[in-house]
Amino acid sequence: MKPTDIAAPDYFHKVVDCQWACPAHTPVPEYIRLIAQGRYSDAYMINWKSNVFPGILGRTCDRPCEPACRRGRVEETPVAICRLKRVAADFKDDITQRLPRPSAKNGKRVAFVGGGPASLTVARDLAPLGYHCTVFDGDPRAGGMMRSQIPKFRLPDSVIDEETGYILGLGVDFKGGHRIESMKALLAEKYDAIFVGSGAPRGRELDIPGRKEAAANVHIGIDWLSSVSFGHTDKIGKRVIVLGGGNTAMDCCRTARRLGGEEVKVVVRSGFEEMKASPWEKEDALHEDIPILNFLVPTAFVHDNGKLTGITFQKVKAEYDAKGRRNLVPSGEPDQTIECDDVLVAVGQENAFPWIEQDCGIEFDKWHMPKVDPKTFVSTNPKVFFGGDAAFGPKNIIWAVAQGHDAALSIHKMLSGEDITERPLPEVYISSQKMGIHEWSYDNDISNDKRYKVPHRDKVIALKDIRTEVELGYDVKLALGEAHRCLNCDVQTVFSTSLCIECDACVDICPMDCITFTENGEETDLRQRLKAPSLHPDQDLYVSSDLKTGRVMVKDEDVCLHCGLCAERCPTGAWDMQKYLIEMTQAGSTCPTKSRSAA
């Protein structure tokens, strides 16, 4: 293998698994260390800069970082990154003085369709640069799906108000209750750029016999959730069936439990394991006495002269073809009818753009989705950008934020007369953490603690009030314990070939057997010859250039604890622990020295 180029920003970025997995690339270990030091406001601001909604995401994020967390490969469970984010939000001081000031307007006007996470992220990036941002939303208050679809017992309004308020406070003009009905009309208002962040607002229909007749008691999940959110709906029947296995279904069933649903069941077509809902959301539903029945395909709504009485299900089983694809085939068992008073259909969401006329210069593909460039987020109309669920279909908040940052950069570049396909490289800082012979500026003593549980409110109390938040969040002590579980993966092991005397001290001390000195070879061959088996080929090998004996140093990054013992036991300083901080380029970042092509 060729010697690893550690100067390439991506190499060490990948080692910080959580940050690499996060769509917004939030520097997770950096803010977890600040939490451990009690510097909650600093931790919050790192988050705010990167993911805009720390308090909201700290309660609701889909957490792609946690399955990626190295700790999950070292022991059973990853660090509770998401809930530590909430800790920063819960315990911070007033941070308003740290926010950017509304600046003098530069005369350019940007319109936003929808006031959800994608639009607000773009507006937050652009407003401080002097753009006049106008956000239109059909709902009276900002937040989009964060406000309408996420139940209040998971995400209180106060948190949404606070964090959308920080953005609107930058001088962003919010036009609530103003739904955009025509793109043509909006274009006619001569905005310099338009950002569409209107989400995926339409719940998928379940067109099976009885749907029309029983319509009074069959509700589309996301519409029903938003109706509950705005107080239009405050009760439901005693026996409720929720159809669907995603996170919306989990929100529906738990909401139903709080509105009078006594026997609430979730029924899914797939197996329990393959459900789309995050494991912790399934756990929360089960904890609230909601059974999840699997391998049942709804075939008809049963009704008595238009009054819903139940649903008939066909029993299926999973079969896998030669390519490993799963097919659900009838199991041959008799159909099952489950009685109920109300049904919530949460079988998916769709995009809908009835308000975009055909002659706006915005082309759509065969799935009726706008043609959007996945790097710049520009549509076929160079002034119109899309982001969030509106761009590539339903995902989640953190993806909307990440796409918002990229779209904001494009808009800023376009309106500065620059080529939007030229994307500036991220800023990277790397610095030694050595304080003394065996002292480091980070806590390298690895905690053996298991993941701390987030305290929950007593179930009896929680189920009584739909606005009572279930999770209480970590207290300071629990947060400290959990923060110590972080392995500081951003403190990198940096190797200097010229200093190494091949004494093997690092090999002998490494608790994870990460380091091998051996003859060089092709990657597949090298992976066979490591001191401990290479379990994850997607984890990089760090390879040095040739050493004095002709061998090379190979480090499997996979399960390195970043404990720094290699550097402590190295007599020549050939190993050093260096903190690597990468900041993704956002609109207005100044460091356009090198750039990579978006093509």
């Binding site: 022991e75 690895i446 005397i501 002998d508 001390i509 990460c514 401990a532 013992l565 190295c570």
Partner: protein, 351 residues
């Protein structure tokens, strides 16, 4: 010295030996030696050898004297018996322990100061008595704990860190061990674990006095130009006569050897050593030949390493003394002291 304890976590894919232990289970406390010390590599090699042999830790007694090397038993086999004795007195303590309980595996760990100076006589007598043990000298040619004076194994003409030339002749412990009748004699280098680990494993399986001289560079005081015990010097002058694999039980021979290049040595306990020859003419069963070979190469400034001599059918001190099979420390009082009638009978037989 590292302040933190070595993390408990280990690589999730670590292999386990027959006892269900990983090599990490054979570790001791974290080393307090200087960073990069060759002794730590020897420690790691002992750990690896014991892991590979699936040795039950409670069956090992590790005994040492005084010095950097003699501190190392604290860093391996944390669940074994240990005795940190007086300077240079490890061989006596080990001999006594071995006589009291012949069932344990004895690991004597010493250094060049401990064995070639203050304990030179002790070393000599434990070897000539054929105590069943593995005697490892961690040889760095320097008194590290007292800041770098030449030890008795420093080569004449080699330079200290301050630039002083050594005018005394060196003691070659391997040559002495051969001369005193050790039945397993090897030399190796802390920077070459592929050679050292099987040597330790073979020595542990050997019945009789096994002696391994391991050159172990002292990073702090003896790893400079002009030293003959530095990483660079040893790597440049290392003349390995063979490499070996230790085969225990019915292990199939995992490595494909070219015909004629391997010599199988079956030891007393049935374990086999597959010796891959590097020097085709070297015969590890020829004590005299080994002595000559060593002397000739030493004169050329070469450091001969590998398994230099082995007598697979050797016997040990217990056989010389005709002791009972049962360890003396488990014999009951009436067996050990059968009474005055038995004594009278015995005395009568000598009249």
């Amino acid at each position: 010295m590292t302040y933190i304890a070595k993390p408990k976590f280990h690589h999730p894919g670590l292999k386990k030996n027959e006892l269900g232990y990983t090599h990490r289970d054979y570790e001791g406390k974290i080393s307090t030696l200087c960073a990069g010390c060759g002794h730590d590599s020897i420690t790691a090699s002992i750990i690896e050898a014991c892991y590979e042999l699936s040795i039950e830790p409670h069956r090992v007694a590790k005994i040492s004297g005084i010095g950097c090397s003699s501190k190392t038993p604290d860093y391996f086999l944390g669940n074994s018996h240990g005795f940190n004795s007086v300077h240079g007195r490890m061989p006596s303590v080990l001999t006594g322990a071995n006589l009291a309980n012949r069932d344990l595996i004895y690991l004597g760990v010493s250094g060049d100061g401990d064995s070639a100076s203050i304990g030179f006589g002790q070393f000599a007598h434990s070897i000539r008595r054929g105590v069943n043990m593995t005697y490892i000298v961690e040889n760095n040619g320097v008194y590290g704990l007292t800041k770098g004076q030449f030890s008795a194994t420093a080569d004449r003409g080699s330079k200290s860190k301050k630039g002083v030339t050594n005018t005394d002749n060196a003691i070659d412990l391997v040559a002495i061990a051969l001369q005193l009748g050790a039945t397993f004699v090897a030399r190796s280098f802390s920077g070459d674990k592929t050679q050292l680990v099987p040597l330790i494993a073979a020595a542990i399986r050997h019945k009789g006095a096994s002696f391994i001289d391991v050159i172990s560079p002292c990073i702090a005081f003896n790893n400079h130009a002009g030293s003959t015990k530095s990483f660079d010097y040893v790597r440049e002058h290392n003349d390995a006569v063979n490499r070996l694999d230790v085969l225990v039980g019915r292990d199939p021979i995992a490595v494909d050897y070219a015909p004629g290049t391997v010599q199988m040595v079956e030891q007393h306990d049935g374990s086999r050593i597959a010796l891959r020859k590097i020097d085709a003419d070297y015969d590890p069963h020829d004590r005299l030949g080994a002595q000559t070979f060593l002397a000739r190469h030493a004169a050329k400034g070469q450091i001969v390493t590998g398994l230099l001599y082995v007598d697979p059918d050797a016997d040990d001190l217990h056989e010389h003394l005709n002791t009972v099979e049962t360890p003396l420390n488990t014999l009951e009082a009436d067996t050990l002291c059968p009474g005055s009638a038995a004594l009278d009978k015995f005395n009568a037989s000598l009249r």
